[in-house]
């Protein structure tokens, strides 16, 4: 295997109401397992996932769960600080958790911006899609509209239990972050030549293909 010559480390937040499956998603994504008996992660700040994005690029993702503060949405600044992206999760079987999505998004945008002042990329996850019978999902267009209105870069129906779409959602988010980051570099230092930036390894990401 060729030695990767770019490595990215991103902090990602996983946000949403109590019991929507945030921790299950993280566990599924990072540890490849799912436990329905799962209570709370004790003593762990974040889980690390290493992606070999392409032959030249390694992406390390720190997935930050929101610990015991979640009930009241009172996260410390430590949690938000320097995050590059987020998943906001709701439970398709509980409409109230979807109603909270916009609030979580506003809260996030008020507390976290990229260094250039823009909001971070956020992907919306409609979790527990394996449990079918949802009220919201049968209208994908509505969801697209909702995402556009609220500034989500995309949405996915996911299931931590059945391992549906979690990798895809993560790829979508990482793609946007990589793309944003190129903007970021350019907008910050237009005149500075960075020798090691020379390789034209720009990840193209205009839209995000959903499965």
């Amino acid at each position: 295997m060729q030695a990767p010559h770019k490595e990215h480390l991103y902090k990602l937040l996983v946000i949403g109401d109590l019991g929507v499956g945030k921790t299950s998603i993280i566990k599924r994504y990072v540890h490849q397992n799912f436990s329905s008996h799962y209570r709370a992660t004790i003593g762990v700040d974040f889980a690390l996932k290493v992606l070999h994005w392409d032959p030249e690029t390694v992406v390390r993702l720190q997935l930050w769960d929101i610990a015991g503060q979640e009930r009241f949405g009172n996260m410390t600044r430590v949690y938000y600080r320097e995050a590059m992206g987020a998943f906001i999760v709701f439970d398709v079987t509980r409409p109230a958790t979807f109603e909270a999505v916009a609030k979580w998004k506003n809260d996030l945008d008020s507390k976290l911006t990229l260094p250039n002042g823009k909001p971070v990329s956020v992907v919306l996850l409609a979790n527990k899609c394996d449990q079918g019978k949802d009220v919201l999902m049968n209208n994908g267009l509505k969801m697209d509209q909702f995402c556009k209105e609220h500034g989500f870069v995309g949405w996915f129906e996911t299931s931590a239990k059945e391992n549906i779409n979690i990798d895809e959602a993560s790829r979508c988010l990482v793609k946007h972050i990589l793309a944003n980051e190129c903007d970021l570099m350019e907008s910050i230092e237009p005149d500075i030549v960075k020798p090691h930036l020379a390789s034209p390894k720009v990840v193209s990401c205009s839209s995000c293909a959903k499965s």
Binding site: F72, S110, P115, P119, E149, I188
Partner: protein, 661 residues
């Protein structure tokens, strides 16, 4: 901050420890309890973390000021708790109003352009708008750029008059041209406006030189009030102004508990002294002493010799035994030190009082100062990036990670005491929910007047200034300085001045944030204004052209008094049950040892056999790689890592994360 009321019903009603208040000692205690497996509920009646230890954005601080200036009674219509108290129980009502802040006064000197209706970028109200523009790649704020490596102290050897005279203008070179144009436009607009304003006496005399001035010199960065508002999120303004001794208890605890991974620090770069109207840099390390240009060779030798003695003074009792009963300043007079050096040692290194500190106190303080030198940098002190208010939150995060539950904006109406055992068994919150626990830690300000009727409090006088340049012309524009100004009258206290630059992430570029602190004698303004007037001048529309006025100008100033409950003993409070513990608000001292000691003492009382904040498992250990054989981070990694937003010389304690990668 989002959904206060709705989910209160989901709060469990059984805990091991309930902590009321999210200041530093409470947060350390909560983290320690949670870490050792206790079920912790941690509440604060305010909407933010930290209580009187908090830091605020500029708009956040304005709301805080409003709250105390208006002195409004927050009448939360809460359900009555009286009926919940059973026959064999008593209640200790808690205070419903915070009385720890007084004499709040605000002065704005920066020009307020009333025609501009500017609000904070990224403020909550605007968040929707900013979201919708997210994908259209528009409106990049040139001034919102992150601090880049180029705002590191430059090696600006050239002592050209320009670079010295206009420190506020030293926006990092790579700042876009747009930014400069904006400033330029601002200047022009202001100049036009000025002609309509009533002119101050200086201004009339300087008026002629204004045009010249602005054409000949590059654009100057004049900060207006609306800019401060607009860049409000760049500010993190501390209510208490402290530093961390690099070998103090808090640093040790941060490292031991690995809470250090949540925080980043900068070294204080300069120790200053103020003598006979002149601000000077105090040489304190060996390198400083040798590089100092003010001291004579003889003085350098004297100072080195004396400091070397202080490092190991205990081994040479013959040198100081005879002076044990006199003050440190008397002792210094007997040493081979010029008055200049005596002043440095007394006020800037030992930072002790001229009239009250004994020889031993002074030697001890000097030794401690020297001991802390060099661990992370050239001075003994560290300052947390984003402000002191980060520190309680770091411990709260650790508590939460171990299962602690957090409720801000949650007031507690009363403690419920069992008559028979005399112990506290529950609290009743604002919703009337009764929550049981075994132990209770309550911060002083939550007690009602009934509980505190015999308590004598001291006060801390505080001032916060936003200024346009440093008190001592820096050779680089990013300096963090501490300066002690001795009290003028015998009965007044010395004033501690801490000046922060924008790379501490506590103020916007082109400004300095200055904190003044002393033990109160009168109101904060009466105590501190004399020092403020010596070091600064109020901002006027007058041109910088009058370079003989070297003082930094104040754009905005705030004064207030804060209650100091740190000296209050537990038995000063009336009728406290044995399982209700008290901790104090911030003390006036420079370090944070008092907070750590309180938390640790109470923790050891309750859990004598438990370790206090042992290191948690490292999350990096729980890596699941796609394929296990991937090489280490290559040298050429180009993209910013999560912490690359912060300037490079940030001190990361222990480097625990790195070592595990």
């Amino acid at each position: 901050m989002t959904f206060p009321v709705k989910m209160a019903d989901s709060l469990p009603s059984e805990f091991d420890v309930i902590v009321i208040g999210t200041g530093l000692p409470e947060s350390i205690f909560a983290a320690a309890c949670s870490r050792s497996g206790q079920r912790v509920l941690h509440v604060d009646s305010r909407s933010y973390y930290g209580g009187n230890w908090a830091s605020f954005s500029f708009s956040g601080l304005l709301s805080w000021i409003k709250e105390y200036q208006e002195n409004t009674d927050v009448v939360v219509e809460s359900s009555t708790w009286q009926e919940q108290i059973l026959e064999n129980e008593e209640a200790i009502a808690l205070s419903r109003k915070n009385k720890t802040i007084q004499n709040v006064e605000v002065f704005c000197y920066a020009s307020q352009n009333l025609h501009e209706d500017i609000e904070e970028t990224g403020a909550l109200q605007k968040s929707h708008a900013s979201v919708t523009s997210a994908n259209s790649a528009e409106a990049v704020e040139p001034n919102c750029l992150p601090p880049e490596p180029n705002c590191l102290p430059r090696e600006d050897e050239s002592l050209s008059p320009l670079s010295c005279e206009v420190p506020a203008e030293q926006i990092p070179g790579s700042d876009t041209e747009i930014a400069l144009e904006v400033n330029d436009a601002e200047v022009t607009r202001k100049r036009e406006k000025r002609s309509e304003d009533k002119t101050s006496e200086e201004e009339t005399t300087k008026n002629t030189s204004i045009a010249e001035d602005t054409t000949e010199q590059p654009k100057k960065n004049r900060i207006t009030y609306s800019q401060i508002i607009k860049e409000g999120r760049k500010f993190n303004i501390d209510l208490v102004s402290k530093l961390l001794y690099s070998r103090g208890l808090l640093i040790d605890l941060l490292i031991k508990s690995n809470v250090s991974r949540y925080a980043e620090f900068k070294n204080i770069t300069r120790i200053l002294s103020f003598r006979e109207g002149i601000v000077e840099q105090v040489p304190c390390s060996r390198a400083d002493v040798f590089n100092n240009k003010q001291l004579t060779v003889v003085e350098k030798r004297m100072l080195m010799k004396f400091l070397t003695f202080c490092m190991e003074y205990e081994e040479h009792p013959e040198e100081y035994k005879a002076y044990e009963n006199v003050t440190f300043s008397e002792f210094l007079k007997t040493q081979k030190l010029t008055p200049n050096l005596q002043y440095f040692v007394l006020h800037s290194i030992a930072m002790t009082s001229e009239t009250t500190s004994s020889t031993i106190d002074g030697l001890k303080a000097t030794k401690n100062f020297l001991h802390c030198l060099g661990r992370y940098g050239n001075t003994p002190f560290l300052f947390p990036l984003y402000g002191q208010g980060e520190l309680p939150q770091c411990f709260c995060r650790m508590c939460a990670v171990f299962g602690g539950i957090y409720c801000l904006r949650h007031s507690i109406q009363c403690l419920v005491v069992d008559k028979e055992s005399g112990k506290c068994k529950a609290i009743i919150d604002q919703f009337g929910q009764r929550i049981n626990s075994k132990h209770f830690l309550v911060e002083d300000s939550y007690f009602s007047e009934n509980t505190c009727s015999h308590v004598q409090y001291r006060q801390i006088s505080r001032a916060v200034l936003i200024t346009d340049r440093s008190v001592l012309k820096p050779n680089s524009d990013q300096q963090i300085s501490i300066l002690t100004v001795p009290g003028e009258e015998p009965e007044t206290f010395s004033v501690r001045v801490i000046e922060l630059c924008s790379s501490t992430m506590t103020c916007m570029k082109g400004t300095y944030l200055v904190h003044l602190t002393c033990t109160s004698f009168k109101t904060a303004r009466e105590d501190l204004e004399p020092v403020v007037q010596k070091l600064f001048i109020p901002y006027t529309e007058m041109e910088i052209e009058s370079e003989e006025v070297e003082k930094p100008r104040i754009l905005w100033a705030l004064y207030f008094n804060m209650r100091d409950s740190s000296e209050v003993g537990r038995n000063c409070y009336n009728d406290l049950p044995p399982n209700v513990y008290v901790c104090s608000g911030p003390d006036c001292g420079l370090g944070n040892d008092n907070a750590v000691k309180q938390a640790e003492t109470i923790f050891q009382q309750i859990f004598p056999s438990e370790d206090f904040c042992p290191p948690p498992p490292n999350p990096e250990d729980i890596v699941l790689d796609e394929d296990s054989s991937h090489p280490e981070a290559s040298e050429s990694s180009v993209m910013p890592k999560p912490n690359s937003e912060t300037p490079k010389e940030t001190t990361s304690l222990g480097n625990l994360e790195e070592s595990s990668e």
